[in-house]
Symmetry: D2
Subunit: 386 residues, 4 copies
C-alpha cells in the first residue's frame, strides 16, 4: 500500500525545518508538541491495527500506550493533555525509532483487504495531525519574540473584485457521504435536508474587508456580536481584539505566519478568525454565514464558480456540529473518534492551505469551538434573497 508510505513520510517531511526543541512546544492545552503528534499517529496504528490484528506484535514500550493515547477512554486513562509538553522523555530519536518500529510491524497488514478501512482511517487521522502540527507550531512560535520562520513567504495576492453571488433554490437536497470511498463516520449517512434558498459568495472575505470592519469600530460595537462572542472578545486584552497574529505598529498592519512576520496582504483571504468574529463580520456586512448544507450544495452545483473552496481557508458555517440523522459511530474505542465531540462546536467546510494534498472532500466536516482561531480559518458569506 503505497499511500501508507507516502503519508508516513510526509509527516516526517514537515519536521525538516525544525530543531529538536521545536518538537517539544505546548503553548496551550489545545495544542500538542510535534513530538507527541509523531508518536500519537503511530500509537493509532499500534492500538487499532497491530494489537488487535497481529497476535505476535511486540509493543515498543509498555508505557507508550498510556502516554500517546489522546482521548480514547475505551483504551485506558490517557496521560493528561495539558502535560504533553512535559515529556522530554522519550526523546525525539526514540519517538522516531517508535515510528520505524510501527512501520515495520505494519508491513504484513498493509495488503490485508479486511483492514483497508481501518488503515485508511489511520492515514486520514495522520493527515489531520499533519495540519495540526503546523497550526500548533505556529501558535507556539507566536509566543516567541524571535518570531521564527518556517518557510518562505508567498507572493501577495492580486486585487479582488466584489464577489459574485451564486443562488441556491429552495427544496430537498442531499447531504453527506455515500459510496465506497473513504470518509469519516461523521460525514455519514448521506441524507436529505430541506434547503431554504438563498445565495452564496463566490470568494472568501479578504483582509482588506476585515480591516474596514476594524476601522469602523466593529470590534467595539456589541450589536454585531452574539452574546457569548461579545463576552469572549471583551475578555481579551485590547491588543487581541483583532484577528489572531495581527499586529498594528506605527499604523502599519502586519501578520505572523509560517513565513514569519509579514506586512498584511490586503487581498489575501482573511485568516485566523473565530466563529464569533466570522459571525459578527457577516452581520456587519449585511449577510450571514452559510449552513453546512448550503455550503455542500453550492460546492456541488458551482464547482467552477466558487473560488477557494479547498486549499485556502477552513470556512466557518452557521451549523453547529451534530450527528447526521441515523449516524452510528463505529463499535469499540475507535468509535470515540468523532461522535463524542458532537456538542458545542461549529462546523467548518472546505480545507486550508495547511491541509495535506488529497485530504479534502466536498462532504468533509471539520469542527472547532466557536472561540478558537489558531487554525487557518476564514469565511465565505451567504445571504437570503427574499
Amino acid at each position: 500500500m503505497e499511500l501508507y508510505q507516502q503519508v508516513r513520510t510526509q509527516t516526517l517531511a514537515l519536521c525538516q525545518p525544525l530543531n529538536t526543541a521545536d518538537h517539544e512546544l505546548q503553548a496551550a492545552e489545545f495544542t500538542s508538541p510535534l513530538k507527541w503528534h509523531l508518536a500519537h499517529t503511530s500509537w493509532f496504528f499500534e492500538t487499532f491495527l497491530l494489537k488487535p490484528h497481529r497476535p505476535d506484535y511486540q509493543e515498543f514500550h509498555p508505557l507508550f500506550g498510556h502516554l500517546f493515547n489522546s482521548y480514547y477512554n475505551g483504551i485506558g486513562q490517557p496521560y493528561p493533555r495539558a502535560q504533553r509538553g512535559l515529556l522530554s522523555r522519550p526523546t525525539l530519536d526514540e519517538v522516531l525509532a517508535y515510528r520505524a518500529h510501527i512501520d515495520q510491524a505494519m508491513q504484513p497488514l498493509l495488503n490485508d483487504a479486511r483492514l483497508q478501512p481501518l488503515i485508511e482511517l489511520g492515514l486520514n487521522h495522520e493527515q489531520q495531525h499533519q495540519e495540526l502540527m503546523l497550526t500548533d507550531l505556529l501558535y507556539c512560535w507566536a509566543k516567541n519574540p524571535l518570531e521564527p520562520v518556517y518557510r518562505q513567504a508567498t507572493q501577495h495576492s492580486a486585487e479582488q473584485t466584489a464577489p459574485n453571488w451564486q443562488s441556491l433554490t429552495e427544496g430537498v437536497t442531499e447531504v453527506g457521504h455515500s459510496g465506497p470511498a473513504f470518509a469519516f463516520d461523521n460525514e455519514t449517512p448521506r441524507h436529505r435536508q430541506w434547503l431554504q434558498g438563498g445565495e452564496i459568495a463566490s470568494r472568501l472575505v479578504t483582509n482588506a474587508e476585515c480591516l474596514q470592519f476594524i476601522e469602523q469600530g466593529g470590534y467595539q460595537q456589541p450589536q454585531w456580536w452574539l452574546a457569548d462572542g461579545w463576552s469572549w472578545i471583551s475578555s481579551l486584552p485590547p491588543q487581541e481584539r483583532q484577528p489572531l497574529y495581527w499586529r498594528r505598529h506605527n499604523n502599519e498592519w502586519s501578520t505572523y505566519g509560517l513565513a514569519g512576520r509579514q506586512p498584511l496582504d490586503p487581498h489575501a483571504p482573511l485568516c485566523h478568525i473565530s466563529f464569533y468574529e466570522a459571525d459578527a463580520y457577516a452581520r456587519w456586512a449585511g449577510a450571514r454565514l452559510p449552513t453546512e448544507a448550503e455550503w455542500e450544495s453550492a460546492a456541488r452545483l458551482y464547482p467552477q464558480q466558487l473560488q477557494q473552496l479547498f486549499g485556502c481557508r477552513w470556512q466557518w458555517t452557521a451549523s453547529s456540529y451534530q450527528a447526521y440523522p441515523g449516524y452510528r459511530p463505529a463499535a469499540g474505542a475507535v468509535g470515540e473518534y468523532n461522535g463524542k465531540f458532537m456538542c458545542n462546536q461549529m462546523v467548518l467546510r472546505g480545507s486550508s492551505c495547511a491541509t495535506p494534498e488529497g485530504h479534502s472532500r466536498i462532504t468533509y466536516r471539520n469542527f472547532f469551538y466557536p472561540h478558537e482561531r489558531w487554525q487557518f480559518t476564514g469565511l465565505r458569506l451567504a445571504r437570503d434573497t427574499h
Copy 2:
C-alpha cells in the same frame, strides 16, 4: 387589557409565601434575586413602552434604567449581573412602588392597538420571569441547610408502564409559528424541514429509570457521555454526580424541591438534569433525544397519545439553539431579546410545572446551556426505526 392586570398580579402572588430576605438571594451569576425580577419586568415596560410612547412619562428613579437592565447593550451598560444580589437598596417596598408606578403609567397605553405586540411581549417576558423566580429561589434555598418549604407536597405519582412509541414518517414537515397569535421571534418564520423518520416515546423518563442508570454506574462510565459532558460531570464533587437536588442518605434517596425535602418519588418524571445527563441517559437506554422538529411534529400529530407535553418538564432536544432560516430579530434594542443567544445552547420543548398557565405553545423554544440543570428539565426519548 385584562391580561396585563392578571399577569402583573400573578407575579406578586408568587411572592406571597416569602419574607423580605428571600427576595434578595443570588446564589450564582445565572440566578437573580426575586426583587430584581420584580423590578426588571417593570423596567421592560418602562423602557420599551413608556419611554418611547408616552412623551410625558416621568421616570421613577434616574438610576433604575441602569440597575434593572438585564443585557440590552442598545439601552446602555447594564449593572453587573453577578452583583444583582448586592442591591439592598432600592428596598422591596420601593420596588413594589416602582411596579405600581409603572402599572399606573401603562394604563393609557393598554388599549392602544399599535402597541399590542410590544405589550404582549412584555407580558410574555414577565411570564418567563415568573418561572425563573421559582427556579432561582429553589436554587438559592437549596444552599440553606434549613431547606425552606415554599408549598405543600403533591401526591406521589402512579406507577408508570413502559412508554408507547409513536412513529414519525420521513418527509417534509413544517416547523415554527405563523399567524397573528403571539409568539417569540425565535419561533419564526414557519419553514419547512426534512424529517428523517423515527419514533418518539409517549411519556417522559422517570426517576426510577434514572435510578437504574445510577445504580448500573452510568455516571462513572465515559462511554455514555459526550466528551464535554464527561469533563463537566468529572469536574463536580462526587456527591453531585447525580440529578441536581438528589441526595442519598442511609441508602434512602430524597430530593429537594418547592415542597422541601421529600423521599424520591420513583414514578415521577425525572427533573433537574442537564442536557449532558439527558443525552447520556438516552444513549445508555439505546435511544436518543428527539430533534426539535421531531418534537414539534409529534406534538402536532399525537396530541392525545403523547403525555406530559406541557406543564410537566422542559424536555431537552438534540437541537442546538440556532436561528430559523429567514429569522429576523426586531429592530432596535428589543431585538436583543432572543437573537444574540443563538449559540452554544440547546433547545428544550414543552413546558414545566413552573410555567405559568397559558404560556405554553407547540412552537415554543426554550434554551439553556448544556450543563445547566436548575430549571425543571427532563427528557423524552426518541429512536430510529431502521
Copy 3:
C-alpha cells in the same frame, strides 16, 4: 455584669439606620452579612459559655451551631463562609429572638467569677464584630450605584503641618500585655525585644500626601513596590489603582464612606489602603513603616506627642503577624481564636474610627492580609536615624 448588657445593646444600635435587606449583604468571601454577625456573636456565648457551663441549657435551634460557627474546626464543620449571604432563613427577627434567648440564658452566668475571662472574651469578640459590621456594610454598599448613606458627614479636617519625629533609642524594650486586665492571647506573653532605634512620625499620612504620590505616578512605578504588591496592584483594573473608594470624576476627587460620597478631604488621614500601598508610599517618601515593637514603645513613651494613636486609623506596621515567644493558645476550640492565623498577615496597631469605645489598647494586635483594604486602615511613617 453591666458591660454585657452594654456591649450587646451597642451591637443592635449599629443596625438602627438599616433596613432588613441591608442585613443580608455579602459582597465577598471576606465579608459577612450583618445578620450573620448578629447571630455569630451570640453563637459564641452559646458555644463557649452556655453549652459547657449550663447543663440545663436548651439550644435555640439545632442547626444554628453549624450555621453560625465561623471557623472553629474543634466545634464541627462550619457552614461555608462564602455562602453566608444565602441564608435568608433564619430571618432577622428570628436572629433577634436568638440573641434575646442567649441574653436571657446568660443571666445566671454573668456573675460567676470563674467565667469572667471567657465572658470578657465573648464581649471583646463581639466588639471586634461591631467594627466588622461597619466595614463589611460599607464594602457591600460601595457596589451599589445608589451609594447609601449610613450617617452624617463630619466636618473637614484642619490643615496639617509637617509631622514631628519622635526618637526611639536602641536597646531592650518590653512588648506585649501582662497583668490581670483583659487582653487577647495574641498580645501575650509580655517579653523583651531589642529595639534598633529610629524615629516615628507624630501624625498619620494624609489624603493630600497620598494625592502627591498618585500625581507623581507612584501607582505606575514598580520601584516603590514589593514584588507581590506590584503583582497585586497590576492585577486590578486601572480605576482601582488608588485607595479603595476613591474616585476621580471631572478632575475632582471624592471618596465613598459611611457618610456617602463626599469630596476628598485633603487633610484627613489616608484611609482604606493595603499594606502594599502603605509600604510603597513609605518607600516613596524616603521612610519606612514602624515595626510593631517600635509602635508600642513609642506609644508608651510619647502618649501626648503622638497624635491619632487610637480611634482614627488602624496603622500598618512592618511586622508580620506571628506568635510572641512563649505564646500558648487556650486549650480547646477557643484556642483557634487567634493562633491559627499567625501566618501571611501583617500587624496593624492603634485602632480606628469604627472601633468601639473601650476596645483599644497599647498592646492590641490587629492583623490582615497585605492586600486587604476594606478596614479603616492608614499609616504612620518611621525612619532610621543613622
Copy 4:
C-alpha cells in the same frame, strides 16, 4: 579569577546527564527551563557587568536582554515568566554560544578590583541557579510516568536515635553578616536581637517520624495546622496530602528523586515539605520551629553538636522573610535582587544536598512561600524550656 571559571564550568557540568529536550521543560510558573537558567545567569553578567563597565561590549543578540531578564523592572519589561518554556529558539547550542561569548567578554573585567563585589554577586547568583536547575528539573520530570534518573542512588541512612536538645539562653544575640567576605545584602546589617531562650534539636526530622504523623492522621486533623495551611492541604487532591514525591503503592512507600523512584529511606531526613507541613508536624510533635535568630545562634554555639546544618536540607524557620533593621538594597536595578521579595515568604536556614559546594553560610537566608515544597526542604525542631 579562578572562581569565575570554576562556577561557570560547574553550571554546564550539571547538564551532562541530560538530553536536549530536558533543557526545555517548565512544569509550573515557579520553575524555569534549564536552558533559560543557562542563559539568564549569563544575562546577569552581561547586564550588570559588561554593559555598564565595558563600553565597547557588543551584545550577543538584541532580544536576549528582554528574554532572559528574570524580574528586574529597572532593566525593562521581562519576558513573561510563565512562557519561558515556549522559547525553542534560541536553541541550546545558541545559548551555549551566548555563554561562551559572555565568558570571553568577561575576561578583561575579572581582575578589576572595583568590580569584585559585583562579580562575586554574579557567581553566587549563578550558584543559586545551579540549585534551582536540579530542583526545577526534578519537579518537571516528576510529571513524566517514565520517571527519569539523573544519578545513582545513595546508600540508605543509618538508624537515627532520638535527637539531643541544645539549649539557648535568653539574652542579646547578634544576627547577620559583617565583614569583607561575600554575603547577600539580605544578610546585612549585622544587628542585635533579643533571644528568648529555649532549645534546639541536634538533628533533622526523619522520614520515619513523618510517617508516624501520617499514620496517626496528621494530614486529616485540622488542629495541627495553621488556617492557611489547612486550606492549602485541603485544596490538594487526596494523594498529594503527604510530602511531595511520596507515593504509597500496595502499602509500600516510595519517593521520587534525582535517583529515580526509590523505596522510602526511613532514617533519611524528611524532604520536600512545605512550611505548613513543617509547622504542623512540629505542633503535633509538641515542639515548634526555631526562629532564624535561634538557628543562627545555635549554629554559632554548637557547630559540632548540631548535625545536618549544611548540605542536607533547607530548614524552615518560624521567621517570616523581612528586612533586617537598617537594611539598604543596592542602588539601581541590582537592588531588586532581594529586597522586593521581603513579604509573604518564610526564611529557611542551612543549605541542602543540592547546594553547590562553598555556597553555604551561617548567615545565609533562603526564602520561599509557605506552600512551596519543590526545594530540598526539611525541618529541625525547637522548643521552649519553661
